[in-house]
Symmetry: C2
DNA sequence: ATGAAAGCGCTAACAG
DNA sequence: CTGTTAGCGCTTTCAT
């Protein structure tokens, strides 16, 4: 059966295409009787207007484009997946579709721009993707966009939604101190400088404020271009004379791997050594012991992203950075020592 | 700056819009010099043709629509996520975009059809979603579609991509037997009858072929409308006089939860009781012990889905069901007992 | 090889 | 309130 057009419907209802168009778009300017008749015909025939035409005329597609990182094993990491969930949920209530593309970290600017232009969308949200040139071009075009979890300087030039990693680190360490730990290690990520600096600052400030020692060998960078990066870093941390009683990990995956590693060494977690993670991923409750962590509401971040983009797409202007707070999720990987400090 | 149109380019190059259109589409019928000039202008201006118009004319959108289940906690389950990854990868190489929607299990037929019609797409793949009426309508419209992991009778009426769950169950049990286990339990899923029947048949056939006993209390249904379904089922399995030495779980999440539960009881895994799972999810390598499981290449399933849909969208016809094999992934949750049988 | 012109299916300004 | 009509930006047929 041939696809019906608005003209067919108009003819069947004995009215003009305008009338049909109006009832289709719920606009006033049609008599009640006409509206009803048209609606009936539409019902009966199961007519749906051609979406391309609609978009061509409206010059809007009501879809947003999500650009995220491509990983070799999966399109998603557990973090991005939740953000996407949030974006998706919100987009549904706002009446938008979402389309996405995954790119390598080193994707060329032009390639990215092509991707953005070739998929029609009214706006784009980058998750963990950042390319200065692209941002620049987009700003020139006045094309609405937003960056989520991009680990980028928060200088107020572009709209950002980021986790408050400084605060998360600070509070993680303070929590350990409250549990009586004085010898605290840190598995820090070297993946993004911004992330590195923020977590580092939070960590150090907390040590200082809690009057705890800071020992170089206990601060280990997790270098990502080697296999088993977290295990490797943990190995180094344990290499010295004495070891920390607790370790703050810049990611739950680090914590999971570190726990697995120290367990294989015969150390008990948390009896012999405690761990606290960051982000709260799905895996974190399945490890043994389950990981105590500074969780973030990633779905909320997604919602917020979509909400903000929506405003941007409708003429709003903002370059505000939104810092998302974390909250402590106590599970089983941190031991309470005698004499925890009140803070 | 105003968006350029093909007419602007034509004017700037001093040619007709036809010429521009032809070079845009890489068609012959343009002199080399013209083509070059036009290409230069396009380069300089960074012109990109309006995609809606293109689609309007071509009557194709070069996008596929993925419909999957909506979960309250996340858009994804770990299985669907990998399938989507595969779809996405393949779509990229085939030059398609992907757009998706998540629906509740009990979504109305009409609502689903609306979702499908309102998002333009040349075809749709359902992941873990099945609605008979929708399928019927789609077939009538001759709209290309495909079902992945839908747990639906494989009667050859609709194109399907399914895991070979009969075979997986059979081999899981046989593997346990090979490791010397004779007392084998089964945490079976009651979510989909098709899935239930297939795994059940595989389980029973394997028991029979390996001459192992089948005891009713060791076969426990995991009932999904209660909290902690797997834990609950496991509890029942252990309630009787004697307990199995190994348990086959119809899902790795069951295995993860069951392991956690029996561990809390003071049982050691795999020393006191072994577990083998199904599907191989990301969590499976993070549990302790890591879960031995019958893995499936879910990304491959996605690729295959997209590939098949591509054919369907280009005039191909198939209602073939593709059964994806599983493979044993040996980790640490199964103990080898003395006197395993050679099979 | 080239360009004029007729659509594609719909929206919206405009005249009645 | 209603219908006519001129676009939206591109593809494609058909003369030239």
């Amino acid at each position: 059966m041939e696809k019906l057009t608005i003209r067919d419907i108009a003819r069947m209802a004995g009215v003009s295409t305008t009338a049909v168009s109006f009832v289709l778009n719920g606009r006033s300017g049609v008599s009640e009787s006409t509206r009803k008749r048209v609606q009936e015909i539409i019902q009966q025939t199961g007519f749906t207007p051609n979406i391309h035409t609609r978009r061509l005329n409206l010059k809007r597609s009501f879809t947003v484009h999500v650009v995220m990182r491509q990983y070799d094993y999966s399109l998603f990491n557990l973090f991005a997946m939740d953000v996407l969930t949030g974006i998706f949920r919100e987009s549904k209530t706002l009446g938008y579709s979402v389309i996405f593309t995954a790119v390598e970290t080193d994707t060329e600017c032009s390639e990215l721009m092509d991707a953005i232009h070739s998929k029609d969308a009214d706006g784009v949200v980058f998750i963990q993707v950042y390319n200065e040139k692209v941002i620049h071009l987009l700003q020139e075009e006045r094309f609405p966009f937003l960056c989520v979890d991009s680990h980028v300087p928060q200088d107020g030039t572009i709209p950002l939604i980021e986790v408050d990693y400084y605060d998360a680190s600070y509070r993680a360490v303070r929590y350990l101190a409250q549990q009586g730990h004085r010898d605290i290690g840190f598995l820090i990520s070297d993946r993004h400088m911004e992330f590195y600096h923020r977590t580092n600052a939070g960590f150090r400030d907390a040590l200082r404020d809690c009057c705890l020692p800071c020992r170089a060998p206990w601060l280990q960078r997790v270098i990502h271009n080697i296999p088993q990066p977290a295990t490797n870093a943990m190995e180094k941390m344990l290499a010295g004379q004495d070891r920390p009683t607790a370790v703050f990990c810049a990611s739950d995956t680090y914590a999971a791997n570190a726990i697995r590693y120290v367990s294989s060494l015969g150390l008990r977690v948390p009896e012999d050594i405690s761990f606290i993670g960051l982000d709260d991923l799905v895996i974190s409750e399945y490890t043994r012991p389950a990981i105590t962590t500074m969780g973030v509401d990633k779905v909320h971040m997604g919602r917020l992203a979509m909400e903000t983009l929506f405003q941007l797409m409708n003429g709003g202007e903002t370059t505000a950075v939104k810092l998302i707070p974390t909250r402590l999720i106590e599970r089983d990987s941190v031991r309470k020592l005698a004499g925890g400090m009140k803070l």
